[in-house]
């Protein structure tokens, strides 16, 4: 399971303030904390408080600071092609990067896949196109298929593609989680080797009261359906323990009495 830590995000107050004041300490600390919590990669998102014209520079700064403490993959979380390019340049100085993300319109796919190929980066393909978020399994699969075709056309390996079925808040649409679970199952059948499937987990529980519980129950269901990457909060210990246990129960990792300890020790 590829865990992409979500906490370096300008929407969180400490990181937002750090970006504003160019104070590297909170960013470095958050990177280190997430890695200690088992993150395999770190998502980097400047948030929406930074004025549009300054976002590329803010992205570069966040990545440079994060790169001081890790060479693990960084997920460049921004919709703008230019900002993503700046992020890729900074992130690939040491280590890999993942583009987060492209939507499924033909011209966007071509442009972002071109960037992924140029930088040898992974890429997240969202179930969104000119018609908005695809609400049905068929709609999500159709965009997923287009994404894989665009990857192949651009020379990007399928093993570098992460399809994201988009999970919406459960308090907005209670049918959506079930649709996402079935989509995950079918995404995995779209090619051989199967594409990775990723979700932005925390979105599911936006505005809900039992956030952590909702997140970990859904993550367990999604892993059962074939999810192999997740953008979430690695500081949520219960979530991490649940995820590791789900992988043990599905025989994706070898059991030992100290398997929870082993998960974190193995990352050190």
């Amino acid at each position: 399971m590829l865990v992409i830590g979500e906490r370096i995000n300008g929407m969180f107050e400490a990181i937002g303030e750090a970006i504003k004041n160019k104070d590297p300490k909170p960013v470095r600390e958050m990177a280190e904390k997430q890695l200690a919590g088992g993150a395999d990669a770190l998502d980097i998102n400047v948030g929406t408080r930074v004025p549009k014209a300054e976002r590329a520079a803010a992205m570069r700064w966040l990545i440079e600071v994060t790169r001081e403490v890790t060479d693990k993959p960084l997920s460049i979380d921004n919709p703008s092609l230019e900002t993503v390019r700046v992020g890729l340049q900074a992130a690939t100085i040491k280590g890999r990067a993942i583009i987060n993300s492209t939507t499924g319109q033909a011209e966007k796919l071509a442009a972002f896949m071109g960037l992924a190929h140029e930088f040898g980066a992974g890429i997240v393909g969202l179930s969104i196109d000119e018609n908005g978020v695809a609400a049905t399994i068929e709609g999500k699969l159709e965009i997923g298929m287009r994404t894989l075709a665009a990857a192949t056309d651009a020379g990007v390996s399928i093993e570098d593609v992460y399809l994201d079925p988009i999970i919406l808040p459960v308090n907005c649409d209670q049918k959506a989680p079930g649709i996402v679970i079935e989509t995950i199952r079918q995404f995995r059948l779209l090619s051989d080797p199967a594409p990775h499937v990723v979700i932005g987990l925390s979105n599911l529980s936006q505005g809900a009261t039992e956030r952590s519980l909702i997140n970990r129950v859904f993550l367990t269901m999604a892993i059962g359906a074939g999810l192999d990457a997740s953008i979430h909060d690695p500081l949520d210990t219960e979530l991490t323990n649940t995820m590791v246990t789900a992988e043990i129960l599905l025989n994706k990792a070898i059991y030992s009495d100290s398997y929870l300890t082993a998960y974190l020790q193995g990352k050190a």
Partner: protein, 321 residues
């Protein structure tokens, strides 16, 4: 015509690389060292991943003359079995041993009960006799091993030996000794992959580096549980290649010890007149067990018969060409 790309398995992990033996420049007295592990694909599948360090062959010698080995086996060593130093020398010179595996059988309370000081003296004599690295194995009595192995560890301090074996219930003394004297350590688990992982975790929780652990998942001989050993080792190796750092240790197999316990190896011509020459039969039983286990992912093969050891070395050479 379009050329299809080769279908390759991509692995995220690798087997840890471990060097045994320290030369004079490295604080020891060995004239050669042995490096194992480092594999990035299943064994010998060159098109998938590299096998930078092919499996190595250790020869098992004892600190006392074995009295329960089949005649065909002891005969192969002649008088050398009377002296660990002579035996070690012969194993290196005539059977091409990459390492010597010294089993301290004579320290067992039931078969000699030799003291820690006597065992340490044997270790020193073997170190003096040969320049290859040493595996030092206790007598399989936990209480006695806890007395003997720290002395032997100290006697070989700085030589970067491999000491065994730590178990789930008895590991602290040995881990501390290996930590202090710069040795590597064997973690033993009885054909149980979950316990194998647990032993590695327990050892590493004492601050012992993961890359100085070798796994011994116990060895089953041909006809006597070989397939269990095979599947456990194979699963462990696949987990290592999949990125499980708690399973990424090189693996040791006590091939000779197990193969020569089989009745097919031990039986004399009088007992089994139709089974063929016992000298050849036992040697081939050992060699067949070893060759099979190579495929499962094995790194240090501990052999007893000199011809089986030479045959195995030849086989490894042909597999990695």
């Amino acid at each position: 015509m379009t050329m299809l790309a080769d279908a390759k398995e991509k692995w995220a992990g690798a087997v840890n690389t471990l060097t045994l033996g320290a030369t004079a420049g490295e604080g020891g007295t060995r004239t050669s060292t042995v490096t194992v592990g480092g594999g990035t694909g299943v064994p010998f599948m060159r098109f998938d991943g590299a096998t930078p360090h092919p499996p190595v062959v250790a020869i098992e010698i004892w600190d006392r003359e074995p009295d329960d080995w089949p005649a065909a086996l002891t005969a192969a060593w002649g008088k050398a079995v009377k002296s660990p130093a002579d035996w070690a020398r012969k194993a290196v010179e005539e059977a091409g041993a990459d390492l010597i595996c010294l089993k301290l059988a004579g320290t067992h309370p039931d078969t000699g009960d030799r003291s820690p000081a006597e065992a340490a003296a044997v270790v020193r004599s073997v170190l003096k006799a040969v320049g290859v690295p040493l595996v030092i194995w206790g007598c399989d009595s936990e209480a006695k091993d806890n007395e003997v192995l720290p002395s032997c560890s100290q006697a070989a301090a700085g030589e970067r030996c491999l000491l065994g074996a730590a178990t789930e219930d008895n590991y602290k003394t040995l881990v501390a000794a290996c930590q202090a004297d710069g040795h590597a350590l064997i973690g033993l688990s009885p054909i149980d992959i979950n316990i194998a992982k647990q032993v590695n975790i327990l050892i590493s929780e004492m601050g012992f580096p993961l890359d100085r652990i070798v796994m011994y998942q116990t060895t089953g001989a041909l006809g006597y549980g070989l397939e269990y050993t095979y599947s456990i080792q194979e699963r462990g190796r696949l987990a290592a290649l999949g990125g499980d750092k708690m399973m990424a240790m090189p693996v040791i197999c006590m091939v000779g010890q197990e193969a020569w316990r089989a009745k097919e190896s031990k039986a004399t011509t009088e007992e089994q007149p139709t089974w063929g020459d016992p000298a050849l039969r036992g040697m081939l039983w050992e060699l067949s067990t070893a060759v099979t286990l190579l495929q499962a992912g094995s790194d240090i093969m501990v052999m007893r018969h000199p011809q089986a050891a030479l045959g195995l070395k030849d086989m490894i050479k042909r597999l990695v060409v």
